[in-house]
């Protein structure tokens, strides 16, 4: 049953298009929304952009966007180049709609990732991208025509959002339906490595790690029998995440180590073992999740871990003086008030806990960036912990992007300029801004746009 909207005023939908009404990739999904709700279409050229559109789809210019009451609006953003335009407006709900990743260049993919990370929910037409995103965030929907019931949930998500209701409850229902569809296909066709692997992934996303492991091992056996060269790293490695999420960390580390072939992977395995021996179970868990690309769960656990390490006064246990080495940190104990984090991690020295917190913060920022959550990542990045020019450049670029997404364009540009002073190639951020502006102009004119 759909939750009731919390607002008494009638919500409305604003579409940030990928093309004109007649050429949008999402006409099938927009039509039912337009049939039930007034839709505002962002364009500076209504004649071109809205040719053939129903009467309740009306234009709103880019200049008018800042005069709307966004607390009652749901934004449907159909192109990633709108990200820096729409995010500062802070609509009540923001849906990022995307076909998938085919044919995109790196820059466009980067902005698509940021939009997906910052949106309230995401709808995609591609299952691989849907699963990829499901490991980065919640509230993702897929509409791929593979299953009628699954598609219905995705369509409902759009309608709920247009009505001002967060579609999150539908996300789990759609996952359950898709898992069931794989189960049905497997019972009809017998063992298939690919189908079993997908089912395992869905079970994991639904929180059934035990069932997911059972299915994964079946997929692994089938893959080996079929001579799949990636059976070990492409399928079996996922077992380490499944075991970690069950709290079976020793087995999880062993599962990862069995798949560790390259020098980097073996170094990862060595680090996992070392940290496990030192009792750093929380960090080992998130490292395993990250090694399996589950940045969603990793970020969630890291935020909890770091919040537990915050001192009573609100200070973090990371050093306030970022220039100090780890040894110096030890002598500055008066600055710390370290809380015990984990029953298994009792008795650790403050120095070790400080080092653990610094690692956790670094991993959290990376996982948030992998998830496209630029603004959240920037909040965890502390300028006083920066030690190298490269770190400083990355910091300025990150802050600049976060400022841009918050609507502070001039401050963002100043941040990018500071980054350019430190590293010449950071000028790319300013070039990117110009490309975005040009793309938005084309989209608002009723055309299409790429960042290539």
């Amino acid at each position: 049953m759909k939750p009731t909207s919390t607002t008494s005023e009638r919500p409305y939908a604003v579409v940030f298009p990928d093309a004109s009404w007649g050429n949008t990739l999402f006409s099938d999904q927009l039509s039912p929304i337009a049939a039930k709700h007034p839709v505002r279409w962002v364009t500076n050229n209504p004649q071109r952009a809205l040719a053939g559109a129903p009467s309740n789809v009306t234009a709103i210019s880019t200049d008018e966007l800042h005069h709307m009451d966004w607390s009652q609006a749901t934004a449907f953003v159909l192109h990633p180049c709108w990200a820096a335009t729409v995010l500062p407006l802070r609509p009540r709900l923001l849906g990022a709609w995307t076909s998938g990743s085919a044919g995109e260049d790196q820059l466009e993919a980067s902005w698509r990732g940021r939009l997906a990370g910052e949106a309230s929910f995401v709808l995609t037409l591609s299952e691989p991208y849907y699963l990829d995103l499901s490991f980065r965030r919640d509230n993702v929907f897929v509409l791929d025509g593979a299953d009628e019931t699954s598609d219905w949930f995705a369509s409902q998500a759009g309608l709920w959002a247009a009505d001002g209701t967060d579609p999150l409850p539908l996300c789990r229902l759609q996952r359950q339906r898709r898992e069931a569809a794989y189960r049905e296909r497997l019972s009809e066709t017998g063992g298939s490595s690919t189908l079993m692997f997908y089912r395992s992934v869905y079970l994991y996303l639904l929180g059934d790690a035990v069932g997911a492991e059972r299915e994964l091992l079946g997929a692994f056996e089938q893959a080996v029998l079929q001579g799949d060269e990636h059976a070990l790293d492409g399928i079996y490695r996922f077992r380490s995440a499944l075991l970690a999420s069950q709290g079976k960390l020793e087995s999880a580390v062993q599962a990862y180590e069995a798949t560790a072939i390259t020098a980097v992977e073996r170094a990862n395995a060595e680090e996992l073992r070392r940290r496990l021996v030192h009792g750093e179970r929380s960090l080992v868990t998130v490292m395993l999740l990250r090694l399996n690309d589950d940045h969603r769960e990793a970020a969630s656990r890291l935020e909890r871990l770091l919040n537990e390490l915050i001192v009573d006064t609100g200070e973090s246990i990371v050093p306030m003086d970022g220039d100090k080495s780890a040894d110096q940190m030890l002598s500055a104990e008066s600055k710390w008030k370290v809380e015990e984090v984990h029953a298994g991690e009792l008795g650790r020295s403050k120095h070790e806990q400080a080092a653990q917190a610094m690692t956790a913060r670094r991993l959290l920022i990376d996982s948030l960036l992998q998830a496209g959550c630029v603004r959240r990542a920037s909040q965890w990045f502390e300028s006083n912990t920066i030690q190298t020019a490269r770190d400083r450049t990355d910091y300025e670029l990150l802050q600049g992007t976060a400022l841009l997404l918050n609507g502070s364009r001039r401050e963002a540009i100043l941040s990018f300029l500071r980054a350019t002073e430190l590293r010449q190639d950071a000028i790319g951020a300013l070039t990117e801004l110009a490309l975005l502006d040009a793309a938005v102009k084309r989209l608002a004119d009723g055309g299409t746009a790429t960042l290539k």
């Binding site: 029998l225 069995a258 395995a269 073992r273 496990l276």
Partner: protein, 241 residues
Amino acid sequence: MQSLRKASGNKLTAMMQVRNECGRYLEASLAQLSDVVDEIVIVDDASTDGTPELCRSFPKVVRLVELRRPLFGEEWKLRSLLWETAVSTEPDWLLAIDADEFLERRTIRRIRELIDQDQYDWAALRMYDFWGSLTHYRDDLWWNLHRRHTMMLVRYLPGFHYAYPRWDHHVPRLPITCAALPGLRSELRAKHFGWAGDEENQRAKYNRYKQLDPDGRWGNIDQYESILDPAPNLIRWVEEE
């Protein structure tokens, strides 16, 4: 917590399933293995000829499971039992070998090199089918196992998912999932004496295959028929030291 892969000091355990092996090659096989491996684990598939007693006479046989009811018709169960028994002795590496198989002397000399490293988790050898004698091996359309590699050595990785296909016959000697791990295809050789007996012995084996698998469900009918080939292509074996 130790690394799964040790580059030195690995314990090598031979694993073998046997059934009514007295008077054949078992004694010689165990004698050779006793010089090569650290421990031997055996599952006896309900022998009636005193095979278990012979096994027990070798001190390196650290575990011997004696089945009362044969599992020959459900080979995957037999293989799985042998595997579980072998890994329960905490080996670092396992050598899967039959009672009628022998390692060439050069292989014996170099076997520790194969296992005392941390780069790969299995090693495959070339297996030669000796035919009608211990001096020649067979090499033709149906008998060319030596042209491929046979996985015989695997590192035991605790916690790894080891599984055999649930087949009644012709089950691989080692869990199929080992093949996903990095391995080495070696040119070192092993000898299979199962067909080295006389014509009467070969016909008896032919009859047994035809009885067990009359439709060629588990093997190849043409290969079964080739057992009776009156003039197989035989090549003289030259042992490498």
